[in-house]
């Protein structure tokens, strides 16, 4: 099964991402869903906007996926990040993996989200009532 690495503008459906990693050899499947929360640093958040340097983000995420697949002998792997406006409660990122056992699935999923957050050239702007901030800048 090929790794699925995508950056999309439309809403992400976590059920579809989960279904994409289904594999009869798998004994464990893990999914991480990163959602927009309604507050940040004590202030109510209206929505967030993600921006990506898309060709590089795809390249970095593909490298990260390849590393995870090799290290944990994954069967299925999907990593999908959304760009544009993401409202409270909606998913900005969904990562799913299937592996032989639960430990590999959990570890790989954790590794993937951490590595994407650290290195994928994607930026989040939080929009509050009347103001907006780029997270990290």
């Amino acid at each position: 099964m090929q790794d699925i690495v995508k950056i999309v503008r439309e809403k992400i459906n976590p059920d579809e991402i989960l279904a994409s990693v289904a594999d009869d050899r798998a004994g464990g499947t893990a999914v991480f869903i990163g959602t927009t929360r309604n507050h940040s640093q004590g202030a109510p958040v209206e929505y967030v906007e993600y921006e990506a340097y898309e060709p590089m983000a795809i390249g970095i995420m593909t490298d990260i996926a390849r590393t995870a697949r090799f290290r944990w002998e994954l069967f299925g792997l999907s990593a999908v990040h959304r760009v544009g406006r993401v409202d409270v409660g909606e998913a900005g990122v969904v990562i799913a993996v299937s592996a032989a056992h639960r430990a590999g699935a959990f570890e790989a999923c954790r590794y993937l989200i951490d590595a994407v957050k650290k290195d994928a050239p994607i930026w989040k702007k939080e929009v509050y009532a009347g103001k907006q901030t780029w997270v990290g800048l």
């Binding site: 340097y53 390249g59 900005g92 957050k117 650290k118 994928a120 930026w123 990290g136």
Partner: protein, 79 residues
């Protein structure tokens, strides 16, 4: 040389790419210095900016070649 900029840096410079004058043999570090000189508001962020050359993070300083795709990468915050 044309330099792609993103996120908070894009907003500070007011465009998604900027033309930066660089001498022959310039490096990725020269890109950041030139950008910070042209946009003083970027000065305080200078230590946190990374440069990507041809869509890969460049260890600083990396020698640039004509035709390279250069991008300034502010602290990332995806996920």
């Amino acid at each position: 040389m044309r330099v792609l900029v993103f996120g908070g840096v894009r907003e500070i410079v007011g465009s998604d790419s900027v033309e930066v004058e660089l001498a022959g043999g310039a490096t990725s570090e020269d890109v950041l210095n030139a950008l910070a000189a042209a946009h003083p508001a970027l000065g305080r962020w200078r230590p946190f900016l990374r440069v990507a050359v041809n869509r890969q993070y460049a260890p600083e300083p990396t020698r640039l070649s004509p035709g390279d795709e250069i991008a300034v990468i502010p602290p990332v915050s995806g996920g």
